[in-house]
Point group: D2
Chain length 135, copies 4
């Protein structure tokens, strides 16, 4: 993926509490980093509490781990819009160590748009699609 | 996958601290549930601090989410041995709500065996393979 | 405090994800253990989502740490009712390693009863007081 | 306490994963914010992995909560040096919402200097004392 595909960049410093007994960031925390990146993106699009114009649930998340991160490391999480399906949005992520430029991880989430009451899948609203594609 | 493939079952109660602002278990926590399941399996195999006879790093983790879990729910995490490659072990998981029997999630991790000092991939030790296949 | 003061005992196994780079349970997690203990107590009193008959906020939490806990340790968190003031309930906790009997920590929280909308302190409802004192 | 007592200021943005089912930062997370503040202070003093020149264990932590924090809030954690005893260092903290200036919480930790092998309390090393008092 090229740099101009990046829709949002979120920077954060690794906290001591992100690290496990191995002395590096626990693998589960990478999903929280992805989460924080999409929430800050959505906030930038005017929707601080979730995807613009839609309730969503995650149906899939994955991460490939390439190199560890340690306490105090400054990380940049980059988000790309993978695809928008009939009832879901696929988001792509990568995590880069800012100081070294090394790519630490890359991942993906599939977020399904749902009816806020029934929690069943509904078509991605046209307004949501427009805001995500424009954002 | 059939029930007789299950190598290990780990039960836990959902903690309030596992849940996020949506009022259910945060998706990242499922990876920690998988982690706890493999650690308790390895412990049962006589290796409380990690995979028997090998240092490992995770290179891939993924989860498919089917239904939410809530505070106080009793969950059973089931582990299957997916495959043992030249330098990696693939583990498969599913999470079931004990009371309802509903399958909430399924996932996978790929754990690479590494040299404890250089952290580079090494062949899965024969002893490790034997203990995992026998366990 | 004597054993007959104990209102509720909650057992849990230390998760790998509870531990930090020092290789033992992170000190902040003890507050989550206390939290889980009071939530399971309240659930036993018929109120799974919080203090019986009252919305609450925590205004104070503290913990004294005496010995570390490690992954796989089975812990018992014991809860005592410290006191019920005009607008607050003080709860006392201790954490014991089940296998060794060693007391690892003791702590306290002060939970203020609040109006669910304004979040301002209100008198502890009589029904809440009765259920906590009887529980 | 006056502003000129502040030894270190650490800023962070509240993550979605810091928040619980109540929709605000979970009370246990405040201890992690304090932790991150003292670790970044120690790092600034030249000791990225812990207190300068000493192994430590926490024997006490406490927090008073005054107002909630929410996802995306920018917080400043301020650290003051409470006192240095024969075998312990008391650190004082407060957390302020940067945008509103409102003080959300204040707290304290007591960190005992220990022998790195036996984990028993030892006198605060003179070099440690000098670096903390000068920092």
């Amino acid at each position: 993926m090229s740099d101009d595909d990046v829709r949002h960049r979120h920077r954060l410093a690794v906290r001591f509490s992100d690290c496990d007994s191995m002395g590096h960031v626990n693998h589960a925390v990478y999903l929280s980093y992805f989460e924080q990146c999409r929430f800050t993106w959505w906030r930038q699009l005017g929707s601080p509490a979730g995807m613009p114009g839609a309730a969503t649930v995650i149906v899939h998340a994955e991460c490939d781990y390439r190199a560890p991160a340690h306490v105090h490391d400054e990380l940049e999480i980059r988000l790309r819009l993978g695809s928008i399906g009939s009832t879901s949005v696929t988001l792509l992520y990568e995590i880069v160590n800012v100081a070294s430029g090394v790519r630490l991880a890359e991942g993906k989430t599939i977020n399904v748009t749902v009816d806020p009451v029934s929690r069943r899948a509904i078509p991605v609203p046209a307004d949501t699609r427009a805001r995500l594609e424009g954002g």
